[in-house]
């Protein structure tokens, strides 16, 4: 077993850390306040290769691997979790879905532009009445010769407002329920499509989350991603990888919260000494540091499983998504507690981290869904 990064991975991660410090962190609080996307940084990340970390070089990917990707995601998330989720969606959901299920033609057309950041992608599955249960999708794609006509409204789509490319899930065979879902790979300029409501969120406010409205969008059958009615498999397989990104995001938020707590506890003087000398604070710091470390170690193992193609990692991805997101909840809670009343104020970073953390327990599968996935696997169903 070797738990060290190689020199190349170290440079990739150092680059991510530096970018996060110089190009994300200084703007994060303001963009959170204004609910604006750091699109300039996102495009620059594409140019540098951070939006194509698991794409092969033949599609202009940087192919740095899932481990370096997870570690880079931690760095971006420490600075600005809103930008980091956009990075995660592009890498784990859009690129991976196209790479795994796309035709040669689709790969050649879409991947290089997604790799360079020229195009931003989104993955739109959720609907108002279909969250954890994809079988209840109402957006329909009706065959009409060699075309499909897509109608319906998606919501809570990450990157919705900034996306050029969409992976869209729709019912192609209503009777079959979840077995009648198909995936489509579309550009946003198709007639009849428009971006709907921009959500006003509690956290990760520097990410774009919108409705996606499809009003009788006529698209060629060649826009199908993978086979007709095989969309659920695409969604579930892709979400396995996505969970690595979200788990990394949670670890990053938790690590940032820990660092804030450490710094504050050393600076804050009460009863004539820094509060870091109080056992009550020390115990919280010890708990936080331990949990962050445990999550990080497992995260890298799951990323390594993906990178080394050493088999299915559905259970492990669900486990780390579940553990890392809930761990981040506990760590942010304690870190804010260390700050006392100041932690409740917007002037302190912990206030934002506390809000940003919350979604990690919900999106790309709630904690409860992760438990279902894990239980199913453990019980051998």
């Amino acid at each position: 077993m070797d738990f060290t990064f190689n020199e190349e991975q170290k440079m990739v991660i150092d680059g991510a850390r530096r970018f996060a410090k110089e190009k994300l962190a200084p703007f994060a609080a303001e963009l959170d306040e204004k609910a604006e996307v750091n699109i300039k940084a996102l495009k620059e990340l594409g140019r540098l290769g951070y939006l194509s970390m698991t794409l092969p070089e033949e599609y202009d990917g940087s192919n740095a691997g899932a481990v370096a990707y997870a570690a880079s995601m931690i760095e971006f998330s420490k600075a600005d979790a809103g930008t980091s989720v956009a990075v995660s969606v592009q890498n784990s959901l859009v690129n991976d879905a196209i790479l795994t299920f796309g035709t040669d033609e689709q790969k050649k057309k879409f991947l290089p532009k997604l790799a360079s950041g020229e195009w931003i992608g989104c993955f739109t599955l959720t609907e108002a009445n279909s969250g954890s249960d994809p079988g209840s999708l109402r957006t329909s794609a009706t065959r009409d010769g060699d075309h499909f006509v897509i109608s319906g409204t998606k919501n809570f789509t990450t990157n919705g407002g900034i996306a050029d490319v969409m992976v869209v899930f729709a019912q192609t065979c209503k009777e079959k329920g979840s077995k009648g879902i198909s995936a489509f790979l579309l550009t946003k300029d198709i007639p009849g499509f428009k971006v709907g409501k921009h959500e006003n969120k509690m956290g990760i406010r520097s990410s774009s989350t919108t409705e996606m409205v499809f009003d009788n969008c006529r698209v060629p059958a060649a826009s199908l991603l993978g086979e007709e009615n095989k969309g659920l498999k695409i969604a579930l397989t892709t979400l396995d990888g996505g969970r690595i990104g979200i788990a990394a995001q949670a670890v990053g938020i938790a690590e940032a919260a820990l660092e804030e707590a450490v710094r504050y506890s050393k600076e804050r003087v009460q009863f004539g000494r820094p509060i870091s000398e109080l056992e009550g604070i020390q115990f919280m710091i010890a708990d936080m540091a331990t949990e962050v470390e445990v999550a990080k170690t497992m995260l890298y193992r799951v990323a390594w499983m993906k990178e080394s193609h050493s088999g299915k990692y559905t259970k492990e991805a669900a486990m780390i998504k579940l553990y890392a997101s809930e761990m981040a909840h506990r760590v942010c809670h304690k870190a804010l507690q260390v700050h006392g009343g100041y932690g409740f104020m917007k002037e302190y970073k912990i206030e934002r981290l506390y809000r940003d953390q919350r979604i990690t327990e919900i999106y790309e599968g709630t904690s409860e869904i992760q438990k279902c996935v894990i239980a199913r696997s453990v019980l051998g169903e």
């Binding site: 200084p26 600076e267 804050r268 003087v269």
Partner: protein, 321 residues
């Protein structure tokens, strides 16, 4: 033979303060060695009367068009020639931009020991030993200068100036052969009128994140002007584009040692401290009583800089008048 040779650095026709500091340190060193203290002055005949009380026994006056503008090559050649004549083994300059340039050229030419930005000289140590900050001021290094010839640049505002009795040093015209100057100064560009450089100022008023923007520097500038000091800035303020880089104090900016450093809205990171930690007195104004600077300042004011600094300026105006 032994001796100490000092470069008289001038700026706009005036002798720089650091030159007086170097002369005083040089005098102590010469006394410890029982050796003469000499100086080299370029194109500065009218300054000669001012050099009488600095303890020099000989002043080498190098005049002519070759020395009209600074050239590391030509100046180093001249200092080496003067050193040869007076038998100097220690050469002193201020650790100013040009002093650092000249000391490097001279040390390379003489294959000498080079000590840059020295803050302490152990006058009696053998071999001669100096102290200089390293690792951005996080550590101090004791450096033994073992080569026969030693070139030392001294950090401004660190060495005390001690006047010597008035005397008439011998003036020796210096005609050094200089090669053609290949790096030619075309012109000097002055910073905006009234802008004093932090590296030389004895009082610095500095602004950081707390100034909130370029406009926030107005109160900093006003106080600096009242005190006859320079305006400094933290890295954050410079990176945000609120003020020019030339004002930056800290690890990646300028290292300063003023008598008084007033830090306004600066938290006091290790990197900032690396640039101003050797200031004689530090005043900090910050809304956060727990900011690191507040634990290191001699006088820490918990308060809003926009409220405190203008009042401080008004009251100081009365005192100054």
């Amino acid at each position: 033979m032994a001796g100490v040779l000092v470069w008289i650095e001038t700026s706009e026709g005036k002798i720089r303060k650091v030159t007086r500091e170097a002369a005083s340190a040089g005098a102590k060193l010469a006394a410890a060695q029982n050796a003469p203290l000499c100086a080299v002055l370029f194109n500065g005949k009218d300054l000669l009367p001012e050099l009488g009380n600095m303890g020099f026994s000989k002043i080498y006056a190098a005049d002519g068009p070759a020395f009209e503008k600074y050239s590391g090559e030509a100046y180093a050649d001249a200092l080496a020639a003067a050193g040869e004549q007076c038998g100097a083994d220690v050469f002193l300059t201020g650790a100013t931009a040009l002093g650092r340039d000249l000391s490097a050229c001279l040390a390379a030419k003489l294959d000498a020991a080079l000590a840059i930005d020295v803050t302490e000289i152990k006058y009696d140590a053998k071999p001669l030993t100096v102290v200089r900050p390293v690792y951005s001021g996080k550590l101090l290094a004791d450096v033994e200068l073992t080569a026969d010839k030693k070139v030392i640049s001294l950090r401004p505002n660190v060495f005390p100036v001690t006047e010597k009795p008035a005397a008439s040093p011998e003036i020796i015209p210096l005609s050094a052969e200089t090669a053609a100057i290949r790096a030619q100064v075309l012109k000097a560009i002055k910073a905006a009128e009234g802008v004093m450089d932090v590296a030389e100022a004895t009082i610095i008023v500095s602004g950081g994140r707390g100034t909130g923007g370029a406009a926030g520097f107005k109160v900093i500038e006003d106080l600096a002007k009242t005190l006859g000091g320079a305006v400094g800035a933290s890295r954050v303020a410079v990176d945000e584009g609120w003020i020019e880089y030339s004002h930056q104090v800290g690890q990646t900016g300028k290292v300063v040692s003023p008598v008084l450093y007033i830090a306004c809205g600066i938290s006091g990171s290790t990197q900032h401290f690396a640039g101003m930690g050797t200031s004689k007195f530090i005043i900090a104004v910050n809304t956060d009583p727990d900011a690191p600077i507040m634990e290191k300042a001699d006088f820490a004011i918990v308060g809003d800089l926009f409220k405190v600094v203008p009042v401080l300026k008004e009251e100081l105006l009365k005192v100054v008048k």
